[in-house]
Assembly symmetry: C2
Homo-oligomer: 337 residues x 2
């Protein structure tokens, strides 16, 4: 079997360390895995499988002979570094928002549009986390019934803001329980026992950039330039799984029974939909797992050809690290890595 | 000024004690306020204004000469007791779900349908909490543009389950932070750092009863027998304010600017909608307050004549106790109490 040299850039972050964990757990066929990060972290150790890797500084010469680099860095660094790395012949699989809407860059959820990987020009973009988690169940429903419109309200975990987001929730929650004032640093406001309907910056149309990602990235991933999307994104005091209340309008009728049948057989989905047993997706159950759980499937009683459901998936894994690793796996299977 | 004798039934509960607090805070013109509860609580003291009241056992003779009884009890008790109390000539303002859909019982949000108070036959129903909080901003928008369809996703506080819900969230959160297992008693599952898309029982159509309350009670409050409502109700780890992501389709065009103008002048509403200052409604700000805060108002880019917004309001106050007190106040003003 062919083996690959892989680099993870931003290996000390929430997503980067999860990429390393995921590569090891899924036995990615790697002859070498490099953990790269900023100079200040060089020499530190990060876990990898049963062992550990020594972090090295991210320098362009590190990418020579590397087949794929999984980027878990901010937009600005990616914007500068990704083209340089791609120019060395190393494919960049980038988790930032820097390249997602670039027409020369495929934006891929492997369960939805793996064929788009074939036309990459050196950079492949990993979609936004809440978008990925919606797309996994939406794709099989679209293939059957034709997706026209999505109305979504998200319940997004603090892990979307990285390791500092996770510690802010736990520390601040303890403070609030102890009667101390909340001191927001990572988030705009208190997140402990609160909700913040504001993720990423506000655009001119009143939507946040996060909300417009579902609109723009959803169209690109599903290949539907006219898809209508109305999204409200809300940060909730949950650690690492995003949940979403989704209503879809379809071209053709889609009964709840048919939707369940489609989702029971869909890749990346766990159908978990038995109200009689109090079974529906919840963050505590989906965290640290690979699948997007779907439940609460019902006919939308307010409109024809409309279906409503609830889904949840781990933000760090399927929303970021796992999806990037799956892109590399899919390219390996296609023999284009 | 005319003064009234008032009784609060269930005075030791989360809603009942808030009713007493609200009556005192708002200087309800009462010549006497009785705090009634189960026999086991008789003789206990409950705060009322700067002083306190001695709780008495709920017995039918307590209601003689009382003008209005605010009921904060369960459906079964209300079903039995309310007709007996109404028969004494005391108006029952009932917070349970027992009477809401009874065609002989007005279901009233004073900002929306105060005139319905005129046709009561002894019992008046207080609507469901998440329904009230949606109706307050929806009424002025409906009056202007004609409401056709509501799509809502709720983010509901634990106070909806009473005092035990509040203590379960704080105790369980501490346990989880300390690495101890969560032990759900009040809620179906862990609520600390989790979301539960399940409030009240499941109906045959796959919606929960809570979700169908928005459908059924919304139609009755707004007097719109054909209003279409699709709701997803979710319990979130927040103490006492419900929040809601709402999208409406209207008969006529309703711009965000017009909606803001209408809501700035609407009773019971605080317009709080300035993204440039990170201003939008949040549970930490609306808790212990009387108003429903509305923000994130924007044109729904996915459909014509469609508007999206976010609102939040205190579940115990406007969602229950305050609305009941406002009903009594409104009846006093109308001179029908």
């Amino acid at each position: 079997m062919k083996e690959y040299k892989i680099a993870v850039v931003g290996a000390m972050g929430a997503v980067g360390s999860e990429m390393l964990k995921t590569l090891a757990q899924r036995h990615f066929p790697a002859s070498e895995v490099k953990a790269l990060d900023i100079a200040a972290n060089a020499g530190k150790k990060v876990p990898f499988g049963d062992g550990e890797l020594t972090v090295r500084e991210t320098k362009i010469e590190e990418f020579r002979g590397v087949n794929a680099a999984l980027f878990a860095v901010g937009d600005a660094i990616s914007k500068e570094l990704a083209p340089q790395v791609a120019a060395t012949g190393c494919v960049v699989i980038d988790n930032s928002a820097a390249w997602r809407m670039d027409p020369n860059v495929p934006l891929v959820v492997p369960e939805c549009n793996p064929e788009d990987l074939r036309w990459h020009k050196g950079i492949i973009a990993n979609p936004n986390c809440s978008t990925i988690i919606a797309m996994v169940p939406l794709k099989p429903l679209h293939d059957y019934a034709g997706l026209k419109r999505i109305t979504a309200a998200t319940y997004q975990a603090v892990s979307g803001a990285g390791i500092l987001g996770l510690s802010e929730l736990s520390n601040q929650t303890r403070d609030v329980l102890d009667g101390k004032p909340a001191q927001p640093k990572v988030f705009q406001h208190q997140i402990a026992f609160n909700l913040i309907p504001h993720i990423d910056y506000f655009e001119d149309n009143g939507y946040t950039h996060e909300e417009m990602k579902m609109f723009r990235e959803g169209r690109k991933i599903l290949g539907l330039p006219n898809l209508m999307v109305n999204c409200t994104c809300v940060r909730v005091p949950v650690f690492r799984s995003h949940s979403e209340a989704i209503t879809i309008e379809t071209e053709r009728e889609l009964t709840p029974e048919k939707a369940r049948e489609l989702l029971a057989n869909a890749p990346g989905v766990k159908l978990f939909d038995d109200p009689s047993k109090n079974e529906y997706p919840m963050p505590v159950d989906t965290s640290n797992g690979d699948l997007v759980w779907v439940g609460r499937i019902r006919k939308d009683i307010s409109a024809p050809n409309s279906l409503t459901f609830w889904c949840a998936g781990d933000q760090i894994r399927k929303g970021a690290a796992l999806n990037a690793v799956q892109i590399a796996e899919t390219m390996a299977k296609m023999d284009i890595l």
